[in-house]
């Protein structure tokens, strides 16, 4: 972590460069930084040279190896997928959950279960279509509220702003469902010397993610084409479809994936992490199997929870076949290579990888 930097540096290095992921880590910790939809801004500089805002940001310099050691007690054995204990396929046993979820319903099932067990007292989640295109960060106080947050939305909400807000009022073990950038920020918050809400977090479920769309761009694109207050689901069917489907109560519309390129957040282009490498549990899709998730267990605490969930019939697992695992690794490596290419294109210097402080050895692997 870089010491001695604050909001002006955050503005200069991240916000003005279009590198903000809108994770919300810098929001709700002071009166100066606000988020609306997926836009974060320093409304007025606070005048302080150093700030938590800079410290917590997933796009300010981060020592990846140090973070690995802190969370997993070791440096990453696997350059493509980070540290993990196991990787398999999983699905929620409850059909109701599966029918509401984007894929296998594992995230909803595990969060519900962790709350029922009392492992966590509240969960910070994202409600995908809250009467409009924009997802909102919500706090579930009861497990019955979790399912209302199932399914994906391809716009990032400021989940950590929600976390910061709720932890001002209450201290309880908290579970969070995050995108990879949000997991990174959350772990930086936990590692920080400053007191903050992330230190109340006991369970981090990270999602697989390749990119998110900017609200402003996507909204302008969809506006007038369909009723944005009636969106039920947004989905990207597996290749070779190459489309994005927006399903509303008044029918579905398909758009070529190519049309979305312009709205992808620039922050996603330099993202190194497809599989939420710093999460306790990472969950994604399984290509060609709509009803299943890829499940990566990364920490021993998560392993215990999942073992229990399996025994109690909350989720069902089966091995992930070698071909799919290879494909997952390739996809993840590809994202890393592209990210580093994009970063070097910005900096013009192979040694300056912006936020990524990698060991010499790690850096060489991707160049």
């Amino acid at each position: 972590m870089e010491a001695g930097k604050g909001p002006l540096d955050l503005e200069k290095e991240v916000l003005n460069e279009g590198l903000c992921t809108s994770c919300g880590a810098c929001v709700e910790i002071c009166p100066y930084i606000k988020v609306v939809k997926d836009r974060v801004a320093v409304i007025e500089p606070c005048g302080l040279a150093e700030g938590k805002c800079y410290d917590f940001c997933p796009r300010t310099p981060t020592d990846i190896a140090a973070l690995d050691r802190r969370i997993f007690g070791q440096e990453r054995p696997d350059s493509s997928l980070g540290s993990y204990i196991s990787i398999e396929m999983a699905q929620a046993r409850d059909k109701k959950i599966r029918s509401r979820a984007q894929y296998g319903g594992v995230v909803s099932a595990l969060m519900t279960y962790a709350m029922d067990l009392g492992e966590i007292g509240a969960a910070v989640l994202t409600r995908p279509f809250d009467g409009g295109l924009m997802p909102t960060s919500v706090v579930a106080e009861e497990s019955s509220q979790v399912l209302g947050c199932a399914t994906s939305n391809y716009i990032a909400s400021a989940t950590l702003a929600g976390l910061n807000k709720v932890t001002k009022q209450r201290r309880a073990p908290i579970g969070v469902v995050c995108l990879p950038c949000q997991v990174l920020a959350l772990r930086k918050m936990q590692a920080s010397e400053h007191e903050n809400g992330a230190k109340e977090v006991r369970l981090v479920i990270g999602l697989f993610c390749t990119w998110a769309l900017s609200y402003q761009g996507f909204y302008q694109f969809l506006r007038g084409k369909l009723a944005l207050s009636h969106i039920k689901r947004i989905d990207i069917p597996p290749p070779p479809a190459n489309i994005l489907v927006v399903d509303t109560e008044k029918g579905a519309m398909e758009f070529p994936l190519e049309d979305m390129r312009g709205f992808i957040k620039p922050a996603c282009g330099i993202c190194f992490d497809m599989t939420s490498e710093f999460a306790d549990i990472s969950v994604g899709m399984v290509e060609g199997m709509d009803d299943w998730n890829t499940l990566m267990i990364r920490t021993p605490e998560a392993e215990r929870l999942i073992e229990k969930a399996r025994q109690e019939g909350i989720i069902e697992t089966k091995p992930l076949d070698e071909a799919r695992l290879t494909h997952l690794r390739e996809a993840s490596l590809q994202k890393k290579r592209r990210a580093i290419e994009a970063i070097v294109k910005r900096t013009g210097d192979e040694r300056n990888l912006l936020y990524l402080l990698l060991s010499e050895e790690e850096r060489r692997k991707f160049l």
Partner: protein, 633 residues
């Protein structure tokens, strides 16, 4: 009993200049009075409205100066005596009518009072409205004392009736807003009834009517020649004379006395400054070789006197004229006794020092030592502070370098730190939405900055509606934010069509701003600006779509609200405020900067100044620690 209604002829009372003008109208038996509030003129109609029921005359706050003048002219056309009052900018608003009613003429006495604001103490310009009298060929009176303010007003009705023209009275801030002794005269019994006869049509036989207008003006000049408002004081054989009008009269007297020049310098005081009483002036300048002209703002008197001197060169011989053109007095800002004395001393080759040269320096040093630095700011509890913070946040979040076009009202302070420097343009009433109309049409020129036009509720009715209709009609990309605090706050909370009472405090129908917007066909939302986060989000949302839109930020001016109901107690919980450990960097007392919030130097925590705090409680919603407590009273 109000001194306005005091029926004790001969009694001397202390009166504000504007009250004296109102009293003059009452002593003329005024029937009809209108105005749009504006500093320094507002107290004229306020004073009249206070006694309107008592005397049975009519008083209204009109929605703008144009309507005010037209309504007053209608009363005049019907044979009644009418007065209309406004500040200098208002003359521009009603000038279209002014420059046609001069042609049609008037019937009942119509007195048109303008309060000019030299130095623009409460204005966006310091125009010299006397130019309008010359421009429109209307008789002009300039009171120099409080007594004259009253007596000239009374006489102006008679003059107006005799010449059949509106008669203009020009006051200035220093006269309108200071107080002096005024000797009262009788209040007549009013018995006029209104009847419209004949016609008042400007558009036909215009050159003929224009020629008639010039004849009427000549008639006024004849009246001015013998006017009691023009006089000369000083030695009979003075070679040096100060010619002055209005506020310059008292300054000149002081300056002459201070320099001990009573025996050498005469003062020719002109109260009727357009058209000039030429014979009167020439008579008093026959032995004079040097003249210093003393007047406030433009060299109006100076230019007209110079024309006269040129025309009378054979009679008067060469006369040296000092004033604005010679650089002895400024043609901008207000003047004072000091400036006049310095000019006089300079011309006369005298040493003049009002005080020790070091005085100003020492006073400045002392002021900096003992007075805390204060920037102009909004009142405690003012909704504009939160509104402008929300606008700033929404524009910053939007990220396209959007900006605010400003308008006239309390919120004009938004050009400075009080409103976080948000207002980037400031001109006249209605200019905010007008300019925004243009900015909102620049899309084809690669312009992508969002434009927010702000205007107050009174300004909305006064001048902003046509701009909004234009934005709708031509589909301009404009977000208009109406800062609705329930009245014309800047000038003293006079009612307007949205506020539910009339000038006399009686219930009046409410014209709803949002209903007007809906009828125009624009999207309109109403929001309490104290719900700051929601306000920011809604503004942000509105900025994302094109077209004309209106957000009404509605919250009553807290100075009024706090008079109407019990004030909640607001205080800082010292347990929760963690001072400089917070990381908020004293947001409440430093950035949001409500005067009710102070920094306790000893405790190193924020503190509410309970004397100043109005109890609005918006700070409690902004404190990141939730350390500010609002206890309902």
């Amino acid at each position: 009993m109000s001194i306005l209604a005091m029926d004790q002829p001969g009694r001397s009372v202390l009166m504000m200049g504007n009250e004296a003008i109102a009293r003059g109208a009452i002593e003329a038996g005024v029937d009809f009075s209108t105005a749009y509030p504006g500093t320094p003129s507002s107290e004229i109609l306020e004073s009249l409205a206070r006694v309107a029921e008592h005397f049975g005359f009519y008083a209204e706050w009109s929605i703008n100066e144009m309507v005010a003048l037209e309504a007053a002219a209608a009363a005049s056309f019907s044979g009644l005596r009418a007065i209309v009052a406004m500040k200098q900018n208002g003359v521009n608003v009603c000038s279209d009518f002014l420059l046609t009613v001069n042609l049609t003429g008037t019937k009942g006495g119509l007195v048109f009072v303008v309060g000019d604001d030299p130095s623009a103490i409460s204005s966006s310009n310091e125009q010299d409205s006397r130019n309008f009298a010359r421009f429109a060929d209307l008789p002009l009176l300039e009171p120099a004392t409080f007594q004259e303010a009253k007596d000239m007003t009374r006489w102006a009705f008679e003059l107006s009736e005799r010449v059949g023209l509106p008669c203009m009275i020009r006051s200035v801030t220093r006269l309108s807003h200071s107080r002096g002794n005024v000797k009262l005269a009788e209040i007549p019994q009013r018995s006029r009834s209104a009847r419209f006869e004949g016609g008042y049509v400007a558009g036909v036989f215009v050159p003929i009517k224009h020629a008639e207008l010039h004849q009427k003006l000549e008639q006024a000049r004849e009246e001015f020649e013998g006017s009691e408002f023009n006089w000369y004081v000083g030695p009979e054989q003075a070679r040096f004379v100060i010619v002055t009008s209005g506020s310059g009269w008292l300054y000149s007297r002081e300056a002459v006395a201070a320099l001990g020049l009573d025996g050498e310098v005469g003062i020719l005081k002109i109260g009727t400054t357009w058209p000039l009483p030429e014979r009167f002036i020439v008579d008093h300048l026959k032995k004079v070789t040097e003249v210093l002209i003393v007047e406030e703002v433009d060299p109006f008197l100076e230019q007209n006197i110079k024309i006269l001197l040129a025309e009378q060169a054979k009679t008067l011989g060469p006369i040296e004229v000092y004033g604005a053109r010679s650089g002895h007095l400024p043609a901008f800002g207000d003047i004072n006794q000091d400036k006049v004395a310095r000019a006089l001393a300079d011309v006369r080759g005298l040493e003049y020092r009002t005080r020790d040269e070091q005085y100003a320096r020492r006073a400045g040093e002392l002021a900096l030592t003992y007075l805390p630095p204060r920037m102009p700011t909004f009142c405690p509890g003012c909704p504009h502070r939160a509104s402008l913070w929300a606008i700033k946040a929404a524009l910053k979040l939007d990220g396209r370098d959007g900006f605010v076009t400003g308008d006239i009202g309390c919120y004009s302070l938004g050009v400075g730190p009080a409103g976080f420097w948000q207002l980037k343009t400031l001109h006249c009433m209605g200019a905010g939405i007008g300019l925004a109309n243009g900015f909102g049409q620049l899309g084809q020129f690669a312009f992508d900055q969002p434009v927010v036009a702000v205007c107050g509720d009174s300004t909305f009715f006064h001048a902003a509606i046509p701009g909004l209709i234009n934005a709708r009609f031509n589909n301009s990309n404009v977000l208009m934010v109406v800062l609705d605090n329930g009245g014309t706050a800047m000038t003293g909370f006079q009612p307007h069509p949205g506020s539910g009472t009339d000038a006399l405090g009686r219930p009046a129908p409410v014209v709803e701003i949002e209903a007007i917007c809906k009828a125009i066909g624009v999207e309109v939302r109403v929001r309490d600006p104290f719900e700051v986060d929601q306000a920011i989000e809604e503004l942000y949302d509105m900025l994302q779509d094109g077209g004309a839109k209106v957000m009404v930020f509605r919250r009553k001016c807290f100075l009024v609200e706090s008079r109407e109901k019990a004030r909640p107690r607001v205080f800082v919980d010292p347990e929760k405020c963690i001072g400089d450990d917070c990381g908020c960097a004293r947001f409440c007392s430093r950035v949001f900067n409500c005067p009710g919030i102070i920094w306790d130097q000893e405790a190193k925590k924020a503190k509410i100044d309970e004397v100043v705090c109005t109890g609005c409680g918006v700070c409690a919603t902004l404190c990141p620690q939730g350390a500010i407590v609002v206890e309902e009273g």
